[in-house]
Amino acid sequence: MTGVWAIVRYGLQEAVRRRVFLVVLALTALFLALYWLGNHYVFGELTQIIPPANVDTRTFAASFLFGLAMFGTLFLGVVLAVFLTLGAVRGDAERGLLQPLVVRPLGRPAFLAARWLGCALVCIPYVLCVYFAAMLITGATGHWWPDSIVVPGLELAAGVVLIAALSLLGSVFLTATANGIAVFMVFGCGLVAGLLSTVGHALPSHTLIHASKVAAWILPFEALYEDALHGITKETSGLTGFLLRLGPFGGAEAGGASLRLWTIGYFVVVSVVALVAFARRDL
């Protein structure tokens, strides 16, 4: 385990020395400040918002804002995860950084696992911190709290570490730049699947809803995000509930236990493919 922790530490040290964390913290603080400003204005003028009949204005405004913050949290987490992992194998091998490390007794599987672990140790706390900070801002400003407090945050974090696993898999085959582009495109596909669901609910079209559901399960980070969105308003019913399902960047959809099991299976498959491919790769 000493070798695994040495690589985890190496990754974290690099991020600190290259001032990655400093930039991330500064931009996150800016994001949260702007989010607070948005909340301040929206809840300050809540009486002027005229929602459709039978819709609770506060729930409507707060959950929409918080849903937006959840998308922002997911996006920032994904950016962090991708930039921490995009060149882990081929990128570092082409620069000559990888070879001195993997000839050591640590071995390739442990090396890859350590890179993922290092990324997860940064991204999970980061996503949870931003998620809870956004929740506190909405709660304190708008006096509204989501129906489920913890689980949606954990689902966002799970989505981010799943993206990190995909990014590590991509890094075995692709150069750093190509991998970064590929992973962001995959993330974008998930986003499109979510928007398709929104359109499907608005029309309404069962075919579109079904297509978006299949796409979201093929890219489970999107399904996790939709389940997290569902979690924050899961006890809201009626027209308010329906409108909230439309969501700002992808509709809320319940995934349940089967989604979590599917995500674990998906992660295991992605990890095994990455480990086997890395083990067979000439460096």
Binding site: A6, L97, P100, R104, P105, L283
Partner: protein, 279 residues
Amino acid sequence: MAVALLARGLAKRYGSVEALGGVDLEVREGELVGLLGPNGAGKSTLTKIACGLVRPSAGDVEVAGAPAGSLEARRKLGYLAELFRFPGWSNADELLLLHQRLSGSDGGEAERTELLRLVGLLDARTRRVEAMSKGMQQRLGIAQALVGTPRVLLLDEPTSALDPVGRRVVRSLLEELRGRGVSVLLNSHLLSEIELVCDRVVILLAGKVVAAGSPAELAQPRGIEVETDRGRRVVQGGRDDVPRVVEELVRSGERVYEARLLTSTLEEVYLDAVGGETS
């Protein structure tokens, strides 16, 4: 002497390109073997297979009796790649500490100090890699390869960026390592370096061994240079012919001042072996 590194029928193809075509090679314990050949001859591929970085298409390599790439082999191996880079943000001490952790070395600070002293970087201990010259980075690379006291050392062009003083430091280091029983496979284009330090030389051409032996074994006789009262000239013959040639000259009334056996240099041996190939 036990065999430290053994390659049998080693072959590697990259698509339609044959990088190695059935190489047999042996490095014994405490032996320093130089690997020579033009660019693309397969030297780096052979080294990488021995480290477990590249999988052979056929044949196998054993490092201290363990299959190349296995945990046991990696524990006994030190490696410096031809094209390597260390993270610019780390300093020399941190880099060696990382490799100590990865190799499971318990040498601690004493080992790091000793390695930095060996490569002449003790004063640059806390200097960041990005602030080091290429030569300093190469010396740090050699120190890194020595972390964990490896029994087999694979050095791919370790002196390519070094100035004459740096090369001399590395040469002394290699001789010291040989004294400690470390086996070294040295891949280099610097024939003079190889000639000075290596016990044996292996010349590769297009993935095949075209010459192998000690520098003395490989050297071809080029005649005997004699200096007499009638001047300096070269006569045909080898080492065994020297007494006869001198005797004949004396018998013919010449005064012999010097008789010197001429042999080919490693450079000449190399050029003969590769037939002028550059890549």
